[in-house]
Amino acid sequence: MKLPALDHSNPDSWRGNLPITNRYTYGLAGERFFRAIKDEAKIFGTHCSKCNLTYVPAVIYCERCLNRLDEWVDVGVVGEITTFTLLYMNSDGSTRQEMDMIAFVRLGDGGLIHRLGEIDPGDITIGMKVEAVFKPPADRQGSILDILYFTPKD
């Protein structure tokens, strides 16, 4: 049998898509942390009395002395900008229509990475006090995005 000619219209690469899905649960501390954001618009940390540290977001074990942490602390919704960046690019590398302002906001001895809002990018300074702006209660899902952004606190 003679081999038929190669059909060059056929593809020379094999294309596919791996349907990977995942469901992440937040764990004992994360569950309570996000419940507080959703139901009370509060940000909680856990305090280690031995190390005198308040972890934000809350964790159930001290990462320094490994003690179980049971002391939950309302750290308030006002933090301090430790560092920030201006994002002009999406995660897929495409250019953003609107620039995003991202900051690490210090709360307790930890903090949250989140958006900044209601501020001119030129006015952002390190050490600035910023306050969390929450979605209306009905819209909150128990997610970090239940906080819309942090905005300057006078």
Partner: protein, 173 residues
Amino acid sequence: MTDRFAQYPGTPLSEGDFENKSVLFHYDEMHGEFAWDTGIAIRRYLDALKQGFLLGAHCRKCQKVVIPPRIVCEWCYQPMDEFIPLRDTGTINTFSLCYVTWDVQRIKEPEIPAVIEIDGASPRHGILHKLGEVDPRSVHVNMRVQAVWKTPDERTGAITDIRYFKPITEVGR
């Protein structure tokens, strides 16, 4: 060990906990898109499947015939540039009855993947495919099988251009 399980019971969750939202969670999808360059030999193999036949490669030095074809002999490292069409019949080398699908759904009628030694290829050379038109209880090693193809206009140049292999009975074997 059982004592330690009692000491650290963990937090069991069921599907119902997600459905009635008694637990918070984040759902995400990763888009694992890929394009795999088939190379010379597999491209010819897929092209042959689209045309309705199986393709192997022959090593002139080792006198081996392998399927799927490759361009270098795994035994002597010589180039294998002789592609040869093979028959679409073969012999079951090993098989499994699977009652769970790839995405972990339980099924009543098993899927039956099998390694099939293709006629014309060297002994112990074959491909992995599925069996069909067969009673799962009757499947056995050394069973003779033949490919059941999609129609020419359904074929795309993929291993699934063969729907499955089904048992054949042959006189004189």
